[in-house]
């Protein structure tokens, strides 16, 4: 290599640029919402050429969906890791660890959380569908991991995930995502208690 300046591998640079555009989209959505955000804003914020953006994404919605997918994948990876660190038969502890990981993710990434929890449900029909699919995934995860026990209402997991997401969403909308971890005790109790009988530990 003859260059005097150390060079980063091309794939690394490309991946980094892609990430910058995604982060810029999240930051702009958090500030002004999806609708008001323009491609020109993203390009300026991410310090990339307009052509670079269109080499990676077909347009604003495509970039937004990529940002949503990336956020969801990152959050799910952290949740799975936290759950897997606890023994499978420790159901309550696993659920609490998963919730703690989710709230930690929200606190560490307020802009991505705003994109996923606040913008995605209403931004476009496709993003609304992906948001619904993500909820579906959390519902299935809770249902599969639930401990054996008496017959429970089939809608229980839908209502629990919906309720937990509702509280997180409200926190993010209030601009208090950074304090999301404060929600843990009450949310954990809310999600776990129907399975064991409330108030019994």
């Amino acid at each position: 290599m003859s260059a005097t300046r150390p060079q980063l591998p091309a794939e690394f640079v490309a991946a980094h640029k892609r990430r910058r555009m995604i982060d810029a989209m999240a930051a702009l959505c958090a500030e002004q919402g999806y609708e008001a955000t323009k491609i020109a804003d993203v390009v300026r914020r991410a310090h990339v050429a307009r052509k670079t953006l269109y080499d990676n994404f077909s347009g604003k919605e495509d970039l937004f969906l990529a940002a949503f997918d990336t956020t969801l994948a990152d959050a799910e990876a952290e949740i799975a890791e936290a759950c897997d660190a606890i023994d499978a038969d420790e159901w309550e502890a696993r659920t609490e660890a998963g919730l703690r990981a989710l709230l930690g993710f929200v606190a560490a990434h307020p802009e991505a959380a705003a994109l996923a929890f606040v913008e995605a449900p209403a931004a476009t029909p496709t993003s609304a569908a992906r948001y619904e699919a993500a909820l579906e995934g959390f519902i299935a995860r809770l249902r599969e991991s639930a401990p054996p026990g008496p017959v429970r209402p089939v809608t229980l997991e839908e209502a629990l995930v919906g309720g937990a997401v509702w509280i997180v969403q409200r926190q993010v909308r209030r601009g208090a995502a950074a304090d999301a971890r404060d929600l843990l005790p009450e949310l954990a109790e809310f999600v776990v208690s129907p399975y064991r009988g409330v108030g019994k530990r």
């Binding site: 919402g33 999806y34 609708e35 606040v118 913008e119 449900p121 209403a122 029909p125 609304a128 619904e132 909820l135 209402p153 089939v154 809608t155 229980l156 839908e158 209502a159 629990l160 995930v161 919906g162 309720g163 937990a164 997401v165 509702w166 509280i167 409200r170 909308r173 929600l183 009450e186 949310l187 109790e189 809310f190 208690s193 129907p194 009988g197 409330v198 108030g199 019994k200």
Partner: protein
């Protein structure tokens, strides 16, 4: 056309006939249920309400302002149904009042699918602005649930966040069903919903007993 076409919208003819503004609100709710928010236009609303476009703009300055008025109207209708049912069950114990409120709410939604659609499904796709209203609407049911509610089964007070999460969870469940086109079957969810909101205060077993006693 001096009144809205007949149909399974469940809005009373008296309401529809009352006045232009109310007719426009009703027409928006029905049009929204038929074609969705994006495709709903001021002309469609006006035609359905038998109100001219220029008269429309005497009442509302845009489709959105008519939409917000319609949203508030639909939410108020839901709230009133719950409040009335709870009042009618007045002296009964808390759990019975809650059950009466849930029955009234789900019955109203099942009978007036257009109201269910604007509040819980189609309206939410109208963009960011509506979420403030949706949030306010959902939160307005929390004090109704907590009024006269007993402490938790362990004797400690139930934190407000628990009831907020329970109400938000019910809203999410109903929204999913309405979006899936299952509005007419919502009353089948009464036992599940009642058990869900009673559980934090009574414990699972007592909540289940009340639900299965009907």
């Amino acid at each position: 056309m001096d009144r809205l076409p007949r149909g399974r919208h469940g809005l009373s003819p008296e309401f529809v006939a009352r006045n232009q503004r109310d007719r426009l609100i009703a027409a928006l709710i029905l049009t929204l249920a038929d074609v969705g928010y994006q495709k709903t236009t001021v002309s469609m609303i006006g035609r359905r309400a038998a109100v001219s476009k220029s008269d429309f703009y005497k009442h509302f300055d845009s489709k959105d302002s008519c939409f917000f008025a319609a949203y508030d109207f639909a939410v108020e209708r839901m709230r009133a149904a719950v409040v009335d049912a709870c009042a009618a069950a007045g002296s009964s114990e808390w759990a019975v009042r809650v059950q009466a409120g849930v029955v009234a709410l789900l019955s109203l939604l099942a009978e007036e699918p257009a109201v269910a659609a604007i509040v819980l499904a189609e309206g939410l796709r109208a963009g960011r602005g509506i979420y403030d209203r949706y949030q306010g609407a959902v939160e307005s049911f929390v004090p109704l649930l907590r009024e006269g509610a007993p402490d938790g089964p362990g004797g400690e007070p139930v934190p407000p966040a628990t009831d907020e999460a329970a109400v938000g969870g019910v809203a999410s469940l109903l929204s999913r069903r309405v979006t899936a086109g299952e509005t007419a079957d919502l009353t089948a969810l009464v036992p599940d919903v009642v058990e869900f909101v009673l559980t934090p205060h009574l414990g699972t077993e007592a909540a289940r007993r009340i639900t299965s006693a009907g």
